[in-house]
């Protein structure tokens, strides 16, 4: 696969990178999910990782905070190599990160307030109920969910769950937030609200954002830089204009949401499809196939 040789200045200039992967390879059994991926993520920017389902986007960002260990290659956070650190040492590094999981991953046995306080209680000793209440209120205010402190996740809508999960992700005032498909499963209005939140957190608090998404509308809105993964490699890397004008057909197919002829060939041909839908029941009964179909009443 030809990698992107014409990276836009914005992407190549990761300057003082906050996160860096060097020849990162991840295999699950014989399946190579990431293949020698080298990537540097700059501070304070929003980097969006796009690519088809199963191309390794989530696997890539899980390496950034040590949720997965590479098969080979290195991962650095602020010049500290983290892929070979023990779990104890990684715990400290992880407090610099917030992670918004695809389905929110809220703890369903805890209230909204307890979910938000979970990471805080694990790393800080809080004294005084007023301080706790204030902290929860301030985080909920950021995501626009004041008054939901005592609700349980089961009582929230999909969009509300994601906003609570975002409030929990920012509870420790992280330097980096990793978003795993933040707008998937949301209606366009709620999806746009999440996009606005991502922009707000990046612009107002200077948080570095790394977003994994399929949603190109969202990607164009929030991205300073877009990285496209394809078959475990970086296929395209640049700002939105660079990606829009990228010549590689796979990039064009993806950003326009059009399936390629090769991928279409796995579907039935028109002729087969017509035959299969026009076949009458008696023909099925008389057909010389291994399987026969009968009505339940027969």
């Amino acid at each position: 696969m030809q990698e992107d040789k014409h990276k836009n200045q914005d992407s190549a200039d990761a300057g003082d990178p906050l996160i860096r992967t060097v020849e990162l390879t991840k295999k699950f059994g014989e399946n190579v999910v990431l293949d020698n991926v080298s990537l540097a993520i700059g501070r304070g920017k929003c980097t969006v990782v796009i690519g088809q389902s199963g191309c390794g986007k989530t696997v890539l960002i899980k390496h950034f905070l040590g949720l997965l260990r590479p098969t080979s290659g290195q991962v650095y956070f602020k010049d500290t190599r983290i892929d070979n650190l023990s779990e104890d040492k990684l715990s400290g590094i992880r407090t610099h990160f917030g992670f918004l999981f695809q389905e929110g991953a809220l703890f369903d046995s805890l209230t909204v307030a307890e979910n938000i306080l979970f990471p805080v209680r694990r790393h800080y000793k809080i004294t005084g109920k007023s301080g706790i209440d204030e902290l929860v209120k301030s985080k909920l205010a950021v995501v626009g969910l004041q008054g939901y402190e005592n609700q349980f996740p089961e009582n929230l809508s999909g969009g509300q769950k994601k906003r609570v999960a975002l409030a929990r992700a920012i509870a420790l005032n992280p330097e980096v937030i990793l978003y795993d498909e933040p707008t998937t499963g949301l209606d366009p209005v709620r999806a746009d609200m999440i996009n606005e939140l991502i922009c707000k957190l990046q612009n107002n608090l200077g948080i570095t954002s790394i977003v994994v998404t399929h949603d190109m509308k969202s990607a164009y809105k929030i991205a300073n830089r877009i990285v496209m993964l394809h078959n475990g490699k970086i296929l395209a890397d640049g700002d939105t204009a660079h990606i829009r004008s990228h010549r590689h057909p796979d990039v064009q197919h993806f950003i326009h949401g059009k399936v390629s002829r090769d991928e279409l060939s796995v579907l039935q041909t028109d002729e087969n499809l017509n035959n299969s839908t026009s076949a009458k029941e008696p023909e099925l009964r008389q057909s010389n196939t291994k399987f026969r179909f009968f009505r339940h009443s027969d």
Binding site: K62, E87, R94, T95, F118, P119, R122, L172
Partner: protein, 269 residues
Amino acid sequence: MLDTLGAKIISGIDRAGQFGRFLWASTVASLGSCVRPGCYRLIWAQMDIIGVRSVPVIMITGAFVGMTLAIQAYDQLAGMGMEERLGVLINISVVKELGPVLAAVMLAGRIGGALTAELGTMKITEQIDAITSMGTNPIQHLVAPRILACLLLTPLLIVFADLLGIMGGYFVSVIQLDINSWAYWNFSAEGVELWDISIGVVKGFFFGGAMAAISCYKGFTCKQGARGVGQACTEAFVASFITILAMNFALGVIFGSIYKIFWVPTLLV
């Protein structure tokens, strides 16, 4: 054929290694939790779920074990004119073998299945990853409290099962089968030693620890989807059940040897 066999052996060794590492991490985390007052709240919560709420079902199990033993053994002993010794037969069976084993099996079904389902669901909904991502060790937070609660409370629950087993056996023997109450207790006191009661309770530590470790491991390694959770629960129960029976046999041999070496000479002196 040989390839398949080899692959299965390697896969089995791999799984055993994974379980060994999980067990080691859980042991370290559990020991750590014992000395961290901050963890006591989590342990207490699990003790309520695992212990307190299991008392009724364990008591019912114990009572039926005692009553069934009385019914089954009466005819055998009556045939030999030894029906007054029914108490010793029931009570030694209950406190030494059937009480601990059946209570542990009941707990493996009630608690083990729930632990696997809960942790398995947390795994597939990325809640365990979420805990890790927030800089918390999920084994410390989720597994250690559950193992400690099972370790501490299984012996206590076995005491409850024993008590109800004895009462159930007494009820059927004395009230229904009309055996003399004084003879029932007198023969029981002669035949059942403190040693017998103690090993039944000590077995509870091993059964509780094994059941909790297996159930938590199966939850942590659960595959995706509803089918994955269901399969993990089934595997957890089957593995716990077999482990309890195997442990019961091994502990029987070990305690038997200890008894012969240390206990009998003391009695003779």
